[in-house]
């Protein structure tokens, strides 16, 4: 018999219940008085606390007027006299808006209004019969996370003012509405028992039958029915144990500039504190020392109140770090400073050292993290994305132990669901059902609260919590703080499984590449900060002042821009402009701090390893051009932490022969015999020293590929696994030809063009060097394109070794498992290496991070051209280099890491003196000097050393040193310190020891 689909046209009983549930809102306001004396002034925020006003003064604001302007902040003020009929009653300010408003009443911070809350309790702020209202409002037009479709329809730069009112409400109806929000959510959710849901629909309908929707009689009867028939029914059972942690995720910059986060943060904190006034059981967690700093600076009154709430244990600082940074791209030292400056702030402000890292939204976490956390006083780690965003594999744990590259272990929680929820029963039940460690991990963590200026927890969410115990099918729920959850369920839990490896996010793989210039500047400044600290520390030993405040402020600005929607490139255009302005400001400041030092024509090597590579020294009349600057190549083979007088490279005729051949150029030096194609790729790379070929037949090597790059809405974030499906040919405008040739340097250049862009690739060879530098000079105007350069080396290996900035990680090249397949694009730092026993090939970069892994081939991701959130992302000129570096032995034997540091850390043209005792110890240590600075308390010199080759060693000092943690607290004193593989060691040395 043919199946006939029945189209039902009459209303189902559930729909009738749902319809009347919606009607309940209509009766909520019992009485209202419009506030007619209102005035408004349009402005645009231009810094953290500065505004440019569009008009010289306020103008009247009436219901129906348009208000707000693009990127606008409005200031609204008003006055109302409480009518006689409302006196003595519970009064509220009622204002429906798509904006984010901070409201003061009679000079006091009363609360906040936004799409998620349209009412403020006025009674605590009443003084007589008159109310003075002041509102500071940032127009919210962000694109996501609102649950209410009405709000989505409202958003935009220009809003219609819907009026402001003094209101009284039917409190009993409000309570009944909360009952219905709770129970209707369960009734509509497939996460709950089907029979119970039928029961709910039936009984919720019966309860509504008691209400007259014209007179609003029968509310109490309906509430009584819900209590007796539904809440008191225990025939249906649920299970589970869920910890509810109030939280509001705050992107410091994203669809808004960081200057707007100051207001968003203050508003969020204000709203949470006002909720605490009404709900004594409520506890709330808040991250990022930076956000507390801005509150202290720009909203001191709120900060004082906050300190009280923190002292009471109700407002809980979590996270330990300065911001919630990207945890793939920042170097180890940057991550150390995130903790150092974050923890020192929390100590100063609240007298607390936090023991958790709270990073719900970051796009994966480097394997170097556990050690850095552990040595920064942090035993617990929370990050959500791997459980909810992985596109291929289900991350197998929620509550577990995370083991880092050096073997350090921290307790970790990857909660089963998103970090922004609105505490609905269905979300809690979903969390419990998705929780994979029910038998071993204790409770599961559910964060609740709107994010990003949605301002956290609402009254409704807390009313839900009070009702959860009444519902027999709900899991057991408990309000608690973040630290309490971690301590209670993870601490000492011997049943927890261990994850040993990086926490790779199978998503957002494009963020290793998007916004190339930001990543390049971040890399450059990370090393410039290192250089400045080392030079000024050494100068201090010679009697010069150490500019601690200047350096700290510069560092903090770089750390701020490592926020997980700035450094990864997932932000609107003004955020990019801000970041670049910050970077240039920091660069100028660091240059000025270094320029205060004397110069004597020598160059100082801040690395504690010897240098071998020639250096490019900028000179206006220099005959060579690199990175668009004239200069000259010089020999400067400095020992570690020593000065050297550079000398011009000696030329030699005939060191290279270059002949035109059919397919391109045949190039021969003492080190290499190359057959280069017209497109600059290598057809053959014969290594004369090692007597072997480096190019695998049939594979591209140094070959550019332009791919279609259409990941969808998450344009800046993602690269799809099928990105290679569509590629575009590059037109060769000028085939590879010689553009520079003398006794020291040879350059061969090829120029490509697409319809919109030009791309110049320069192959640079230097006499006596086995490495070949490739410079790309690009004028980039593509859309939805990804440019990669492929390397298919003739190396039999199943893994590629990648730099993490504090040790190396081996990543599989094979695609046997879904875990390997999902890692088709990974993050690396300064280099990657493919080696066989006896020899290998590395590619060393100066600011690239994305690396494609495809069988035996790898590809360095060079540029993307995404259009969301920033239409103009990566458009314009770029200039970047990498070094193709073949070597004997594996990556460690080939000193790849040392060469990569040389390639990224320039010699300093400043005359400083290194104490000999320290120099000899550091140079012989086998460890790398990661940082040298004056301690935060100014009492000692802090030296941070990093073991990056995976070997065990002992460092012996001729004097006693203090072994510190990364917060610069003394752990012990010693003159001999044993170091294990990939350990980062922090030492404190008395300056007088070195002066002596």
């Amino acid at each position: 018999m043919a199946h006939v689909k029945v189209v039902r046209r009459s209303m189902r009983p559930e729909e009738w219940t749902d319809l009347r549930f919606g009607w309940l809102e209509r009766g909520l306001i019992l009485d209202r008085e419009e506030i007619e004396d209102l005035q408004i002034r349009d402005a645009r925020q231009v810094s953290e606390n500065e505004y440019v006003f569009d008009d010289p003064d306020y103008r009247p604001l009436k219901k129906g007027d348009l208000y707000f302007t693009p990127d606008g902040t409005d200031f609204i003020r008003g006055h109302v006299r409480i009518p006689e009929r409302m006196k003595g009653k519970q009064l509220y300010l009622h204002l429906s808006t798509a904006a984010e408003m901070i409201v003061k009443v009679n000079g006091k911070y009363a609360g906040g209004l936004d799409p998620n809350r349209e009412r403020i309790d006025l009674n605590p702020f009443l003084q007589g019969d008159d109310l003075e209202i002041e509102i500071e409002a940032y127009n919210r037009s962000k694109p996501d996370d609102e649950r209410n479709p009405m709000v989505l329809a409202k958003r935009g730069c220009r809003q219609i003012f819907e009026g402001a009112y003094l209101v009284t409400i039917r409190e009993n109806l409000q309570s009944l509405i909360y009952d219905y929000i709770l129970l209707m959510d369960i009734a509509g959710s497939e996460y709950f028992n089907e029979d119970y849901r039928h029961f709910l629909y039936k009984e919720l309908s019966h309860a509504l039958d008691a209400i007259d929707f014209d007179t609003w009689e029968g509310i109490d009867e309906a509430a009584d029915y819900v209590q007796r028939v539904i809440y008191d029914n225990t025939d249906f059972k649920g299970s589970g144990d869920v910890a509810l942690v109030g939280h509001s995720h705050l992107d410091i910059a994203y669809y808004w500039r960081r200057i707007h986060a100051v207001h968003k943060n203050a508003r969020t904190i204000l709203i949470q504190m006002r909720l605490m006034d009404r709900y004594p059981e409520f506890r709330y967690t808040h991250t990022q020392a930076y956000t507390y700093e801005t509150l202290e600076k720009y909203y001191p009154e709120l900060f004082e109140e906050l300190k009280q709430k923190v002292a009471e244990g109700r407002f809980e600082p979590v996270g330990s770090m300065y911001v919630e940074p990207d945890c793939n791209i920042p170097q180890a030292e940057s991550l150390v400073r995130q903790f150092l400056y974050g923890q020192h702030f929390f100590r100063r402000a609240f007298g607390k050292t936090l023991d958790n890292a709270w990073l719900p939204d970051v796009f994966g976490n480097s394997w170097i993290m556990p050690q850095i956390m552990k040595k920064s006083g942090v035993d617990y780690f929370v990050s959500n994305k791997m459980s909810t965003w992985n596109d291929t594999n289900r991350f197998p744990h929620n509550n577990f132990i995370w083991k880092g590259i050096d073997g350090s272990e921290v307790y970790a929680c990857v909660p089963p669901t998103h970090f922004i929820t609105w505490n609905m029963p269905s979300q809690i039940q979903e969390n419990w059902e998705a929780y994979q460690d029910k038998e071993t991990g204790g409770q599961t963590l559910s964060m609740y609260g709107y994010g990003d200026g949605g301002s956290g927890v609402t009254e409704e969410m807390l009313e839900m919590v009070r009702r959860f115990p009444k519902v027999s099918v709900m899991p057991k729920t408990e309000i608690m703080g973040g630290a309490e959850f971690l301590h209670r369920n993870l601490k000492g839990n011997t049943k927890l499984a261990t994850w040993d490896g990086e926490l790779y996010l199978e998503m957002h793989r494009g963020t290793f590449t998007t916004k190339s210039n930001i990543k390049k500047m971040n890399r450059m400044l990370e090393f410039s900060l290192r250089e400045t600290e080392i030079l000024r520390t050494l100068a201090m030993l010679g009697g010069m002042e150490y500019p601690a405040d200047d350096i700290r402020e510069a560092y903090k600005k770089v750390l701020l821009n490592q926020f997980h929607d700035i450094l990864p490139g997932s932000h609107i255009n003004p955020v990019y402009e801000d970041a670049m302005a910050d970077y240039h400001e920091v660069d100028e400041k660091l240059c000025a701090l270094k320029a205060a030092l004397p110069m004597d024509g020598t160059l100082f090597n801040t690395l504690n390893t010897p240098r071998k590579l020639p250096v490019f020294v900028e000179k206006e009349d220099g005959q060579y051009v690199r990175h668009g600057k004239h200069g000259t190549w010089m020999q400067a083979e400095a020992e570690g932490l020593s000065s050297v007088t550079p000398c011009a490279m000696t030329g030699e005729e005939g060191w290279i022969t270059i002949e035109q051949e059919e397919q391109g150029l045949h190039v021969v030096t003492a080190q290499a015999d190359l057959h280069l194609r017209q497109d600059g790729s290598f057809a053959s790379f014969r290594d004369c020293d090692l007597d072997r070929e480096w190019v695998r037949e049939g594979c591209g090597f140094n070959q550019l590929h332009l791919y279609a790059d259409n990941p969808g809405v998450y344009d800046a974030w993602d690269i799809l696994p099928n990105y290679k499906d569509v590629s575009y040919p590059l037109t060769i405008q000028e085939p590879l030809h010689v553009t520079c040739l003398d006794g020291s340097i040879a350059e061969m250049t090829v120029v490509f063009a697409t319809e919109k862009s030009t791309w110049k690739m320069i192959l640079r060879m230097i006499r006596g060097q086995r490495g070949i530098e490739v410079e790309h000079v690009v004028d980039w105007h593509e859309k939805h394109r990804l440019m990669k350069v492929n390397f298919g080396p003739d190396v039999v290996t199943r893994d590629v070794v990648c730099d993490t900035s504090a040790g190396m990680i081996r990543r599989d090249l094979t695609k046997n498992t879904t875990w390997q397949q999902a890692r088709f694009e990974v993050c690396h730092h300064k280099w990657f290496d493919l080696s066989e026993t006896g020899a290998g090939l590395a590619v060393i970069n100066e600011g690239k991070y994305g690396l494609g892994l495809e069988g035996g081939e790898v590809s360095l991701s060079l540029l993307r051209s995404t259009i969301r959130p920033d239409i103009a992302s990566d458009m314009g000129t770029h200039d970047f280099c990498y070094l193709i570096y073949p070597h004997a032995g594996d990556a460690v034997e080939g000193l790849v890491n040392q060469r990569a540091l040389e390639y990224n850390v320039p010699l300093s043209p400043y005359a400083v003196k290194m104490p000999e005792a320290l120099r000899s110890v550091l140079n012989a240590s086998g460890l790398l000097l990661q940082a040298m600075k004056l301690s935060e308390d100014g009492s000692q010199i802090v030296i941070r050393l990093s073991e990056q080759d995976g070997r065990r060693t002992t460092v012996r000092f001729p004097f006693t040193v203090r072994v510190l943690n990364m917060l610069e607290d003394t752990e012990r004193e010693a003159s001999e310190v044993a170091v294990h593989p990939f350990e980062i060691l922090t030492l404190g040395i008395d300056p007088d020891c070195l002066r002596a």
Partner: protein, 78 residues
């Protein structure tokens, strides 16, 4: 007027994730291309009216803005 749109008004739209490009202004009609968040904004007409007002305040001249939306492919995905 083009400079005013590009240097004064456009940065403000960019602050909300929007993007506007000047095409031309002929016979009192200014054609602007809207991209980014503007391309799918439900209330773009309110914004263009505001731009018309600002232009009139600045130049004492009335223009009518003709908005051309360039919506990216991914906003069409259901």
């Amino acid at each position: 007027m083009q400079e005013y749109v590009e240097n004064v008004l456009a940065p403000r739209l960019r602050g909300d994730g929007g993007w506007v490009e000047f095409v031309d202004c002929k016979d009192g009609v200014m054609t602007l291309v809207f991209r980014g968040e503007c391309s799918k904004c439900h209330i773009l007409d309110r914004c263009t009216r505001w731009m018309e007002e600002k232009i009139e305040q600045q130049f004492g001249e009335k223009v009518k803005i003709q908005a051309v939306r360039r919506k990216p492919y991914f906003w069409d995905v259901k």
